[in-house]
Assembly symmetry: C2
Homo-oligomer: 510 residues x 2
């Protein structure tokens, strides 16, 4: 639970059905509140979201205290808790921002300092907007021309496998699409309640959404010893056990993995698809890190492509939703909340229901849609911005690859920390040894041992990480998630501080 600061004294003393008045200090008759922790939606209470949990709230407090001149053992708070590239100094792609400026203020179309390809992209986007303005609502499913561009991007990415723009839904970041799909899937009660398989460790959006929807979370464990790979036998174990108490209907995959950084092999994806077909599971492929692959020998394979290469028995039957976003990869444009999902083999009636459901929120943010369009339709060879675009993209991806390697290397020099290769995505998820004495002290204060560890690190070094318990981990193992996003020189300092802290912590509790 976030927000331990709340008051609990009123709990239990009010009957939510009856008006109750009581005299307060200042003599005013006060009413008991309608909405209290005891009378609010119980499923919302069950939601947890570690990436922005108590440790991040404390980090924000520390920043404020620093700015107010309070003395701390560090000069700045470094937030390595969240994949927020621009906040860590990554520069936006110039072309993208030029087009967004042109779309925001079309007077600039007559400004000769803007390249022609930026202008033509802006015109195309504006022509697809009602009244040629980004201020108009788009269609609920997203702007037609953007969905067409997304479809062509997917076809190029997947070596020509066809993509129908009607299967593309633009979303408010990938999270929106994921939650919407889960929402469609939830039904039943008791042992027929929908179960959804998610990896452990997972990105906590999944557990949060399932808690809120009252669906059953079915954990399958990734194999840390084999570089966080996915074992089909483990999927089988998880689904078999789950069938005792719920109705498993969906299987979520994150590839490249968050928080694990693992990149799945083509063979693994094929096995997962076969498994999903056999067990009749709706596949949800979170592929927001599709451009973030660094390790040699690793390559991104989309579930869509592999599915279609497996022939019509699979390609025409397995239901799949794949999610992408403007927030990650080389662009890191989180604040615009752009994204899309592609749905494959979805029942026509359900598709109508999906469109209807999305129409209630009217439309995804149009600037985010515009940005998604630029991501899937960047400058092409021969266009004036092509050179600078490629240069900027390459620089960002190379830096990330370098930082992925650096992170793994430095962490593995620390006794008591062991870090799998960061093959892709933006995070390392090293395993840490926490001394018995520290585990005991944490337990006594009601904290998870890795939360205790991370909080101590934050207070002593200003480094904000997320404890592994926020993502899930095997009992008795401890981890933290750290982004690889800080600039290289800062990342080096950060890794050294982590190293020193770990050594100090280990010594203190041994």
């Amino acid at each position: 639970r976030v927000g331990i600061s709340g008051q609990r004294e009123k709990r239990g003393e009010v009957n939510s059905q009856q008006p109750i008045k009581k005299m307060s200090e200042n003599g005013i008759m006060s009413r008991a509140k309608v909405l209290t922790i005891d009378t609010m939606n119980p499923t919302v209470k069950k939601v947890e979201y570690a990436v922005r949990g108590p440790i991040v709230q404390r980090a924000v407090e520390l920043e404020r205290e620093l700015s107010e001149g309070m003395k701390k053992p560090f000069a700045e708070v470094i937030k390595a808790n969240i994949g927020d590239a621009h906040a860590m100094g990554q520069q936006p792609i110039t072309f993208f921002r030029q087009v967004l400026a042109l779309c925001s203020y079309p007077e600039l179309l007559s400004d000769s300092t803007f390249p022609e390809d930026a202008k033509s992209r802006a015109c195309r986007i504006l022509q697809s907007c009602g009244g040629n303005s980004m201020g108009s609502y788009s269609a609920s499913q997203g702007i037609d021309s953007v969905r067409q561009d997304v479809a062509r991007y997917i076809e190029r990415r997947d070596g020509g496998v066809a993509c129908d723009p009607d299967n593309i839904y633009l979303t408010t970041g990938a999270s929106d699409g994921i939650v919407t799909m889960l929402k469609l899937l939830v039904c039943g009660e008791g042992t027929t309640r929908t179960g959804v398989m998610i990896p452990i460790p997972q990105y906590p959006l999944y557990s949060a959404a399932l808690a809120e929807l009252g669906a059953v979370q079915i954990n399958y464990f990734l194999n840390e010893e084999k570089c966080w790979s996915l074992d089909i036998t483990e999927l089988q174990r998880a689904v078999n056990e789950a069938r005792q108490y719920c109705n498993p209907r969906a299987l979520c995959i994150i590839n490249p993995g968050n928080p694990t950084g693992q990149v799945q092999s083509r063979q693994c994806i094929e096995d997962v698809i076969r498994f999903a077909a056999k067990e009749r599971l709706f596949l949800m492929a979170d592929e927001v890190y599709q451009d973030n692959v660094y390790a040699e020998g690793c390559q991104f394979h989309s579930f869509k492509k592999v599915l279609f290469e497996m022939g019509p028995e699979y390609a025409e039957t397995v239901e799949l939703a794949s999610f992408h976003s403007t927030s990650k990869c080389y662009m890191g444009e989180c604040g615009f909340r752009g994204g899309y999902m592609e749905i494959i083999n979805m029942d026509d009636e359900v598709k109508d229901q999906l469109t209807k459901l999305l129409s209630v929120r009217l439309c995804p943010p149009v600037p985010g849609q515009a940005l998604m369009d630029l991501v899937v339709n960047p400058p092409q060879p021969g266009e004036p911005s092509y050179g600078s675009f490629i240069k900027e993209r390459t620089a960002t991806l190379s830096a990330l690859a370098e930082k992925a390697k650096l992170t793994e290397q430095v962490l593995n020099t620390v006794q008591g920390i062991s870090c799998n290769p960061v093959q892709g995505a933006m995070y390392s998820f090293p395993r840490i040894t926490i001394p018995e004495k520290a585990v005991k002290e944490a337990t006594e204060t009601g904290q998870q041992p890795d939360m205790f560890y991370c909080m101590k690190m934050l207070e002593e070094t200003g480094i904000c990480l997320v404890p592994g318990s926020g993502f899930g981990q095997k009992d008795g193992t401890y981890h933290f998630r750290m982004t690889i996003l800080p600039p290289t020189d800062k990342l080096k300092i950060l890794l050294n501080k982590v190293k020193e802290f770990h050594q100090r912590f280990t010594q203190q509790y041994s």
Copy 2:
């Protein structure tokens, strides 16, 4: 239900628990789908959203048919179904768009053609963004400096009543805030299930959200004979009846009214607050049209201000959430999905839960937050953009006032149409007389009579309105909602076409 085109032939023939294979035409063994209309989330199926329902889908089809050269009895489709100002030709506020362009592409800060006040606003916004980029995530609750500006705006608006920025939550349009608040309020089962009072006619976001959350919708009817005013006796009747079968916990008010265009008097608001206090209801005030008041003698009073003027017995106890948006008023920037909510007297623990819940969606779109900031902190006297800002805002609001009057006047010249004054907001909601014969024909084809009427109007004239049944109305009465947003000359043509259609329709079915 939207999407009548879906196939139903598979219904009932599959057992969702068992893998079923069957041979399809091409000899492929095909599996029954995991997700079908029968196995999807039943609460989602109950959702209806008329503003983007079948009539709008048909309008989009007609537009496509026109563009493909098909002959129609009209040259263009006019979408008067949704409050989408820019799509109807309203121009954005220049200052707002200049600042957004500067924030999108900060290189422009050195461009001397941009006014200094636009640059200083852009700098202030960017300084509040991580890494000085709109591409960074903001805090879940929204950017600090924007929330501070919102608080100061509310204080000015409410004649100095204090506003704490901690009570401000930035949202993805107002819809996001409304759904989130409803989500917190829902609990209980059977006769203790949360009931929420909504006006009839209502904006269908409310009924859609309640259906999806499985909450009980409690209708209170606005008084059409008294210009769609709210009667406390009707509120009392509704809540008394509802207490038999659910637990009424919240009261939603839309002021100025959507779709009614009614503006509530100060006295009415005071009475509503007293009623909410007495009945222990959480108040939700949808005040997105707060700048859209046209009728003489009418004035916008915020629930917050009235609440605080009623003295501490109310000001310190009644729980209130008020919603605002960048989409309406004089700016009409729907596509950016900006908005905020202010919460008053919310329990501290619930507030923590609210913040936690919002953190799962990470943050509202940052360009929308920036725009919200500009709306609450527009150019001030003495600043270079002040003159043009005032001129543009006044022009838009005067035009809307003129169109509100024009709409009422023309519609009231038609026998069988009777239209209350459009005191505020952006819609007229006239009552229409539908001949018995037409009602019969509609019923026989399974349509609501006003849907039948509006569909016929669309096919014959290209005008897209929303039938009153999508908003709710007293049994046996019929209405449509029409926006007043088309440019004046187009609006005149549109009103004349409506008039002619109504006369023709009445004659045809008499």
